[in-house]
C-alpha cells in the first residue's frame, strides 16, 4: 500500500505537467526514471543527432540484488514515417560496473554490459511496442528479459493538450519463477512531461516519469 501512496504522491507532484523514446531530437536532453516490480532505474541521455543518444544509466535490481552504473548508447536503426503513423527500430546497449554486497555477495564488483532491441509503432490512437535485453554482470548475474505493450488513447489531443493513454504491458523473464507478469497502466503526457502509473498482477507498482527538453 505504501507504494501506491508513493505513486499517487508522485503523480500529484508531477501532474499537470509522456513514450519513452530512447533517442530525442538533435540537441535534446532526456531524463527517465523507471520503477517496476523488478528494478528502479534512472537514465539521462543527450542526442547529438536524431538517430543516436548517449548517456548515463543507473539500475537497482532489487531481487537480483545488484546495482549497475553504465554508459548507455541508443541507436535509431530505422524509422518509418507515414502520413498518420510512425514506427521505429532501436538498438540499446550499455557497458559499466555491477556491484552487490547483499546476501549472497560480499562486496562483489564486476564489469557488466547489456544489449537489446526495441521497436514500436504508433499513431495518435493506438500504440504497440516490444523490447528485449540481455544483461551480463559477470559473477553476479546474467539474464534475459523481454516485454511488449499495447496502448489506446481515448481521445486525440492537439499539440499542448494533456494526452492520456490506456496501456497493457506484458513482461517475460524466462528464468524467474513467476516468468510472466501483466501490468495495466495509464500514461499522461503533457508538454515535456510523461508519466506512467500501473500495477501488475502481483500487486507490484509501475511508476515512470520522463522529462524531455
Amino acid at each position: 500500500m505504501r507504494y501506491v501512496i508513493l505513486a499517487l504522491l508522485g503523480m500529484g507532484l508531477f501532474i499537470p505537467n509522456a513514450h519513452a523514446r530512447p533517442v530525442s531530437y538533435p540537441g535534446g536532453w532526456t531524463f527517465m526514471f523507471m520503477n517496476d516490480g523488478d528494478a528502479n532505474s534512472a537514465h539521462i541521455h543527450y542526442s547529438p543527432t536524431a538517430d543516436m543518444s548517449v548517456g548515463y544509466k543507473f539500475e537497482n535490481w532489487r531481487d537480483k540484488e545488484f546495482t549497475l552504473n553504465a554508459l548507455q548508447v541508443n541507436n535509431l536503426l530505422k524509422r518509418w514515417n507515414k502520413k498518420h503513423s510512425q514506427a521505429n527500430l532501436y538498438l540499446k546497449s550499455g557497458i559499466g560496473i555491477a556491484h552487490s554486497d547483499r546476501d549472497d555477495f560480499d562486496s562483489e564488483t564486476s564489469p557488466a554490459g547489456f544489449t537489446g532491441i526495441a521497436t514500436d509503432w504508433e499513431n495518435r490512437r493506438f500504440f504497440v511496442s516490444y523490447e528485449n535485453r540481455y544483461t551480463e554482470a559477470g559473477k553476479i548475474d546474467d539474464f534475459f528479459k523481454q516485454s511488449a505493450r499495447v496502448g489506446w488513447a481515448p481521445y486525440e489531443g492537439d499539440y499542448g493538450d494533456l494526452h492520456t493513454w490506456m496501456m497493457l504491458q506484458v513482461d517475460h523473464s524466462p528464468e524467474s519463477d513467476d516468468n510472466f507478469t501483466v501490468t495495466p497502466l495509464v500514461r499522461f503526457f503533457k508538454d515535456v512531461h510523461l508519466l506512467e502509473a500501473g500495477m501488475n498482477n502481483n500487486g507490484e507498482v509501475l511508476f515512470n516519469y520522463v522529462l524531455r527538453y
Binding site: 540537441g27 504508433e122 499542448g160
Partner: protein, 105 residues
C-alpha cells in the same frame, strides 16, 4: 487493489476530457512563408522537436505544428527566408520526412 483501480479510474476520467485544450495558436502567414506537409508527426514530442530545430534558425520568426493535418507553418522574419532544400534538411535531420512544401502567395 480495488481502491487502486477506483483511484486510477477516477484519475483517467478526470484527465480524459480534453477540456484543457490549448488555444489554437495558428500563425498569420505572409507571402513567402512556408506550409510544409510532414510524415511521422504523431505526438507532442515530434512537434516539439521541430519547434526546437526551427527555433534555432535566425530566419524563422515562428512555427506552428498541426498534428491533425500534419502540416507545419513556418513564418519568416521580414526580408528573410529558408529555401526548400534547407527546410527539407532540417526536417530530415530531425527524424521526419517532407511530403510537400507550399509557399504562401
Amino acid at each position: 487493489m480495488k481502491k487502486l483501480i477506483l483511484i486510477l479510474t477516477v484519475l483517467v476520467l478526470s484527465f480524459s476530457v480534453p477540456a484543457y485544450a490549448a488555444p489554437d495558436d495558428g500563425l498569420a502567414l505572409k507571402s513567402g512563408d512556408a506550409k510544409v506537409a510532414v510524415n511521422g508527426l504523431v505526438c507532442d514530442f515530434c512537434a516539439r522537436a521541430l519547434e526546437k530545430v526551427f527555433g534555432k534558425q535566425e530566419e524563422v520568426n515562428a512555427i506552428n505544428v498541426d498534428l491533425d493535418t500534419k502540416i507545419i507553418s513556418v513564418s519568416f522574419n521580414e526580408g528573410q527566408n529558408l529555401d526548400d532544400d534547407t527546410i527539407t534538411n532540417l526536417i530530415t535531420d530531425s527524424g521526419y520526412n517532407v511530403e510537400s512544401i507550399d509557399r504562401v502567395e
